[in-house]
């Protein structure tokens, strides 16, 4: 009993009627490393937000279930409460002040002070800093992590690996730290740095601190964790001792869905053995979705799926081709080299794009449906314009006719083509985005996250529409976080991991193959299996 540090009992959470966590039970013992694993949207962050008493949880109606710390029910209402209970967190992105020294960063807002004359009159806030004792404390914390670096060095300019350790040292330095949460700590680290970090995590566990370790790198999980819990769609799928399981099984648990994949085969495919698009060593500087050199070939008439976890770079590919984010490399479309970083020429050459950021990039929310549909074609192809000498005015009648045709063809539910796009439902907004792309008569359609944020019925309609377009001869590259939908319509699926193509799978490959590839351990697996 006494070594039971943390227990989550039947924790559930709803966001406006949408269950994102269902009856999660989790136990963490002293000195144990507990890995939490799951796809994006599986509920990992929500669970951590509950544990830290983040305000998002409490402003949306709190959660059900209870949290026990060392056998006693804990009321965590704010991050400050969480700190008092001895819960610490090492963040994915570093929260350090570059101009401060290591010691100052570690001791920020927890400074050790001694009284002086001024502070005796004006209060504690003006006490003198006890630099010596703070340095000693910092040294101790750094020593725990085997860091030989001096505590008076400025943080600016240190390698990322060091910054990660300073974050950890800050948490260790807090008195009474019992539980430490690592949120994808190795995501930004190089291999040797990651190895050092894992060593440090083991050492901390050896000192009796309970560790919650969120990661999607299965190799690491198997190496470092004692217990693994797999979340999927807000449900706890399994909790297993690491000894009793292997990477392959974890990957299967992570991906495997109860939803059946309805894939109709035998439709009249007309894939021609002609490469329509060839991408060579494409690098895209899209923040949070960096692409670090991909090579892809797409045949005419194919539907190619691009999958992978969030932040791995899958979204960067389409954005890079379209020139929305700075790109480098070579893209050859229909035998001609496409100019990069020039959206206008790319659209002109016959490629259309439906953005993953529907409300931010895809639509003018305050404008009418017809204005949205006609806009790009008007600007790029000079459609829907009447010429008055040198002046080109919009041809409202033509726009209206075309918009009404699109509304009918794509079954956009609206009161009229003049309705504000912002007032449409998500699925209908998505159709407007697709209608805008189709108005350009593209040969190649890039679609990113076409079903994000729309309900199940609308999802099916959108996917059917893509299939139908493909049957009519359009080549489609679909990027999606939802493996199931990629598998339902794509001819083949490329999995992107850490900005590179990890591998290619047919849509009917087993779940575990997808899971392993998404967590970047596909190669490790085959070795592991043979051994």
């Amino acid at each position: 009993m006494s070594d039971n540090l943390l227990r989550l009992i039947n924790v559930s959470k709803e966001y406006s009627g949408n269950k994102v966590l269902k009856d999660i039970n989790l136990e963490l013992k002293k000195g144990q490393i507990h890995a939490l694993i799951g796809e994006n949207g599986a509920g990992k962050s929500t669970l951590m937000n509950i544990l830290f008493g983040m305000s998002v949880i409490h402003t949306t109606g709190g959660f059900e279930g209870s949290i026990e710390i060392e056998g006693k029910t804990a009321e965590i209402k704010s991050p400050h409460d969480a700190m008092d209970y001895g819960i610490g967190m090492v963040h994915q992105e570093f929260m350090l002040i570059p101009g401060f020294t290591i010691m100052e960063n570690i001791k920020l807002n927890r400074e050790i002070t001694k009284p002086n004359i001024v502070s005796r009159i004006f209060g504690k806030r003006l006490e003198t800093l006890d630099i010596k004792r703070m340095n000693e404390d910092t040294r101790k914390a750094l020593d725990v992590l085997d860091m030989s670096i001096e505590e008076y060095v400025q943080v600016a300019g240190l390698p990322v690996g060091h910054m990660q350790f300073i974050e950890i040292a800050r948490e260790i330095d807090k008195t009474g730290l019992k539980i430490l949460v690592f949120d994808e700590p190795t995501a930004v680290l190089a291999e040797t740095e990651a190895a050092n970090l894992l060593k440090a995590i083991k050492k901390l566990a050896g000192q009796g601190i309970g560790i919650l370790f969120i990661s999607h790198r299965l190799d690491e999980v198997v190496e470092v964790a004692d217990v693994v819990t797999v979340l999927r769609d807000g449900e706890l799928v399994a909790t297993k001792n690491i000894k009793d399981t292997n990477k392959y099984e974890i990957a299967q648990l992570m991906v495997g869905r109860s939803i059946t994949i309805d894939r109709e085969e035998g439709r009249n495919r007309n894939i021609v053995d002609e490469t329509i698009l060839e991408i060579k060593d494409l690098h895209v500087a899209m923040p949070g979705e960096r692409v670090k050199g991909v090579d892809i070939k797409v045949k005419k008439g194919e539907i190619v799926g691009i999958g992978g976890l969030a932040g791995q770079g899958k979204l960067g590919i389409a954005n890079g081709i379209m020139g929305i984010f700075p790109a480098q490399g070579e893209v050859i479309f229909k035998g001609k080299k496409l100019p990069l970083n020039d959206p206008k020429s790319v659209i002109k050459s016959g490629i259309a794009f439906v953005s993953e950021d529907r409300r931010g990039v895809g639509l003018l929310l305050d404008e009418s449906i017809e204005a949205n549909i006609a806009f790009t074609a008007m600007q790029i192809n000079d459609d829907f314009l009447k010429n008055f000498g040198p002046i080109k005015l919009k041809d409202s009648a033509k726009i209206r006719d075309h918009a009404n045709k699109m509304i009918k063809d794509l079954d956009i539910r609206c009161t009229s083509s003049l309705q504000r796009v912002g007032s449409l439902s998500g699925g209908n907004q998505q159709k407007v985005c697709i209608a805008r792309a189709l108005t350009l008569n593209p040969e190649l359609l890039l679609v990113s996250e076409p079903t994000r944020g729309i309900d199940i019925g609308a999802k099916k309609l959108v996917l059917d529409l893509l299939k139908q377009l493909n049957n009519e001869g359009m080549t489609i590259i679909m990027t999606s976080s939802e493996l199931a939908e990629l598998r339902s319509i794509c001819d083949r699926i490329l999995i992107i991991c850490e900005g590179k193509v990890e591998g290619e799978l047919p849509p009917d490959a087993p779940d575990a193959e997808f899971g392993l590839m998404m967590s970047g351990s596909a190669n490790g697996r085959s070795e592991g299996r043979e051994a």
Binding site: M322, I324, D342, P343, K344, S345, V346, I347, K348, F353, S355, D357, G360, V361, G362, L363, L364, L365, D366, E367, A371, F375, T376, M378, Q379, I380, D382, L385, I391, K392, L393, K394
Partner: protein, 366 residues
């Protein structure tokens, strides 16, 4: 009960549609008009002055539309265009033009000059994305200061403009000396409710309609309205509402912003020429310093926001704003004799409205 509730809703709808500030200020103007009538001030004179001042300021206010639509915010750098217009105006005098020729040459010269300067100003705005309004304000101030030197040093010889002693141009140049005062305002001028009859030509009583000036204002309005229905204008608007959307549709946003500010600067230049002829004097030196603020306040009162503006906002705004101040002055003087409350009132309302509108700006283009 239900019926009452529904009525209230429609009232709220109307308020939302027109905008609370517009209704409030408009209502205040009407109240002042009634008060003025009760105090024995001629309402006809007040209305006449309102129309005259609205016509004089209209194009200056119209200059706000392109810059707001392009996403660079209200054109606080209006003085940039104004000094271009003034420069063209004095050049036209220097070259010896008078009457209509003076007006046409001034406008014809002002347009290319303002286009060039507006282009440079647009380049500047593209370099300081995110803080356009602050930069614009200081650009306006700086150019007025720089031109103060220029006015002094220009080697113009025309006796109509020089100081009587020494070099440089006068602060105020009388335009009737060259036959330019009210030349446009008096074109096809007529009066409503004049002493001579309901509609009278060549009367100085009643509500005087400066037809020529209003016509030019309306022509400019139609041009701007049409422009924002053209390919180029639609691209500018889209870039202003959602830069990412425009960019993903292959639009060069920077070029759109430059185009919009060129148009705005040209309108400001034409605007000040029209203003000067209506006023009868061209005011140099520090006179343009604060003109942007009145124009910004007018378009905002008309219902525009710092991100969206229509030609209709300009027409409504300039009428209400100028109406308010032509009315407030005599009424306040009548009520508080010997004080200058009206000017204080003007500053409070003008700057209050700008402040109100700027608090509604949603942060940046994120």
């Amino acid at each position: 009960m239900v019926e009452v509730k529904r009525k209230k809703n429609t009232f709220n709808d109307i308020v939302n549609k027109i905008g609370f500030p517009t209704i409030f200020i408009g209502g205040f103007w009407i109240l002042l008009l009634i008060a003025g009538g009760a105090l024995g001030i001629s309402v006809i004179t007040l209305l006449s002055d309102t129309i005259k001042r609205a016509g004089m300021n209209g194009i200056l206010v119209l200059a706000m539309v392109p810059s707001i639509q392009s996403g660079t915010g209200p054109n606080f750098a209006l003085p940039v265009g104004i000094v271009c217009g003034l420069f063209a105006l004095v050049c036209s005098i220097e070259f010896g033009f008078t009457g209509w020729a003076w007006l046409f040459v001034a406008i014809a010269f002002a347009i290319p000059l303002a286009a060039f300067v507006g282009y440079l100003y647009g380049r500047l705005l593209n370099a300081v994305k995110g803080s356009e309004m602050t930069i614009a304000t200081y650009t306006g101030f700086s150019i007025v200061a720089a031109m103060c030197l220029a006015w002094l040093m220009i080697p113009f010889k025309s006796p109509n403009m020089g100081w009587f002693i020494g070099k440089g141009l006068r602060e105020t140049i009388q335009l009737d000396a060259i036959g330019g005062a009210q030349i446009l305002s008096n074109f096809l001028r007529f009066s409503l409710f004049a002493e001579e009859g309901l509609i009278a030509v060549n009367s100085d009583t009643g509500i005087i309609i400066p037809t020529g000036m209003l016509l030019l204002f309306l022509i400019c309005c139609v041009i701007v309205w049409l422009y924002f229905r053209s390919k180029s204008g639609i691209a500018i608007s889209a870039g202003g509402i959602n830069p990412k959307f425009a960019q993903s549709s292959g639009i060069n946003i920077d070029r759109c912003r430059i185009k919009a500010n060129v148009l705005s600067t040209i309108l400001a230049a034409i605007g000040i020429i029209v203003y000067s002829q209506g006023y009868g004097y061209a005011q140099l030196y520090s006179a343009p310093l604060m003109m942007a603020f009145a124009a910004v306040a007018a378009v905002l009162i008309g219902g525009a926001s710092a991100q969206r503006a229509k030609v209709s906002h300009v027409i409504i705004g300039v009428l209400i704003y100028q109406g308010l101040f032509t009315t407030a002055l005599p009424v306040a003087n009548q009520m508080f004799e010997g004080t200058d409350l009206s000017e204080i009132l003007r500053m409070i309302i003008q700057n209050g409205i700008i402040l109100y509108a700027l608090t509604k700006v949603k942060g940046g283009d994120n």
